[in-house]
């Protein structure tokens, strides 16, 4: 508990300093609230409109989470396929890089045009943006099994299946988690970006992205701030969940999860 307090102490002090500077800055320079609302106003709107925030949070969480889970299943399957042969890898891997290099803001309107502007399309945008880190990291983990371990399994006449299940997949787990952590954060970015474009069709109940465009057009800057904070909270929650899961799965045996200190 003492250690936790010592660890949380400095970040909390920074937070307090930033909030104070923000508050005083707004007053001294008489910044209009629609440009930069003071922290108190943001706090007030969080309390007043918590129903709306929670509703938007739920929708975006569903979209981001759905796309994320889908990308894990698809990404691991694709990585398993890639790991089977260098030829497959060489032929197909360059195209998966496209997933990473094409900007999501360019793809999102296309996806929404093709599949309609519902929740499922937004999920698809999140899916697309999450896929590459999972494929890349899992493939790397699956193919980097030490030669001696492969030989050990060969000496036991192990089948391809048991080599996959008992050797390659567990060996790839730490790499998979690297991908999972990257994708956890960007899944929310994907979902919010998707909603920005879905808003043109004015879905009755919108997620965080939709509400952000709405708040922006209405100059409700304090609400906009509250929405942005909620979106980062969502990303943080995903990230935290994955990190906890990673610790549970790896802390017995893998050094990446053994470190207690982040530096």
């Amino acid at each position: 508990m003492k250690k936790l307090l010592a660890q949380a102490g400095w970040p909390l002090a920074v937070l307090a300093a930033v909030l104070t500077a923000w508050h005083l800055g707004c007053r001294w320079f008489a910044i209009p609230a629609y440009v930069l609302p003071p922290p108190g106003a943001v706090a007030r709107v969080v309390i007043e409109r918590h129903d709306n925030l929670l509703g938007a949070f739920r929708i975006t969480a569903l979209e981001a989470g759905g796309g994320y889970l889908l990308s894990i299943v698809a990404g691991v399957l694709i990585a398993m396929f890639f790991a089977r042969s260098p030829l497959v890898r060489r032929s197909l891997y360059p195209y998966t890089i496209l997933l990473q290099t094409v900007p999501i803001v360019a793809i999102a309107p296309l996806i929404l045009m093709w599949f309609g502007s519902g929740l499922r399309s937004v999920m698809l945008v999140a899916f697309v943006i999450c896929l590459f880190p999972i494929i890349a990291n899992t493939t790397q983990g699956l193919i980097s099994v030490p030669r001696n371990l492969i030989d050990l399994f060969a000496m036991s006449n192990a089948s391809r299946w048991s080599q996959l299940v008992k050797l390659r997949l567990p060996h790839a787990l730490p790499s998979l988690f690297v991908g999972l952590r990257i994708s956890a954060g960007i899944s929310v970015i994907g979902a919010v970006t998707g909603e920005l474009f879905a808003s043109s069709n004015a879905v009755g109940e919108g997620g965080l992205g939709y509400s952000i465009t709405y708040a922006n057009s209405q100059l409700q800057t304090d609400y906009l701030f509250a929405l942005v904070l909620t979106a980062s909270l969502l990303g943080f929650l995903f990230f935290f969940t994955v990190s906890a899961l990673e610790w549970l799965c790896l802390h017995h045996w893998h050094e990446s999860a053994m470190r207690t200190d982040a530096d």
Binding site: L152, F153, M155, N157, P170, H252, W253, H254
Partner: protein, 270 residues
């Protein structure tokens, strides 16, 4: 030197290597016409300069690398077919870091697939008792020292009760004291089971202490330079290391090794 079979009927050699040749795809000949006959229960050490193909020979025996020409028969079987009676111990312990020590020892039996979970556990625990690691059965490999990890690796290899044990410089990475201890332990384990052993090493002292016969290889291409029998009986104890006949033989094998490293001098005849 070994408890032989029935004296009236000589046993056929357990392992026969005949004209074993290995060429890489770039035309380099690593091993050239290796011929060996090994009796059941022998402990054969392969020693030679780096690049003489001693590890490659081990991989040929294991069927991990195909022969370019020649034949290998282990208890009458081709290498791939003989894997059921073989275990391989690598330079590093090659443990699965996500499995506990006990579960690592069970792996060979598990992959062989004709035992129940209870039988595997029992066999693993018996093996761990033999190598003195019962206390750490529930730990993970990263919690063990290098010497303990190698012991686990040996326990895993022996848990399947192999007739043939192939060891590729297993103790090379350990400090000398640990190495000596593990040498003694290996001989002790051999008292129970009498597995036939191929042992690749760089250490002359280790080869003399463990073996019934030492095969010295020369490099480029890898050929057998000479074979030196080790006449000491079993069981061997640590005291052997200070016996004059042991030290004399170490000197002799060392000289043989030096002679193959300098192509100008004639090879040593045993």
């Amino acid at each position: 030197m070994n408890p032989a079979g029935p004296a009236d009927r000589p046993q056929p050699p357990y392992i026969v290597v005949d004209g074993a040749t290995k060429r890489w795809s770039n035309g380099v000949t690593v091993l050239d016409g290796i011929g060996l006959q090994v009796g059941r229960g022998e402990f054969l050490s392969l020693i030679g300069p780096s690049g003489c193909g001693k590890s490659t020979l081990l991989r040929l025996l294991a069927g991990l690398s195909p022969l370019s020409s020649g034949t290998v028969r282990l208890d009458g079987m081709a290498p791939e077919a003989a894997r059921e009676i073989m275990s391989f111990i690598f330079q590093d312990a090659t443990l699965l870091p996500w499995r506990t020590v006990r579960s690592n020892v069970e792996l060979g039996l598990e992959l062989a697939g004709n035992t129940t979970a209870g039988q595997r556990r029992e066999a693993a625990e018996a093996m761990l008792r033999l190598v003195g690691l019962s206390d750490v059965a529930g730990l993970y490999p990263r919690q063990l020292s290098g010497g303990m990890r190698m012991r686990v690796s040996i326990a895993r290899a022996l848990a399947t009760r192999p007739g043939i044990l192939l060891m590729d410089e297993p103790f090379g990475a350990l400090d000398e004291m640990t190495r000596d201890l593990l040498n003694e332990e290996l001989l002790r384990l051999r008292e129970n089971d009498r597995f036939t052993t191929f042992f690749v090493t760089h250490s002359v002292a280790e080869a003399v202490f463990l073996s019934t016969r030492i095969v010295v290889l020369r490099a480029k291409p890898g050929r057998i330079a000479c074979e030196i029998p080790v006449p000491f009986g079993f069981p061997r104890r640590a005291e052997l290391r200070s016996a004059p006949e042991y030290l004399r033989l170490v000197g002799e094998v060392g000289a043989a090794l030096r002679s193959v490293q300098q192509p100008s001098t004639t090879p040593h005849a045993p």
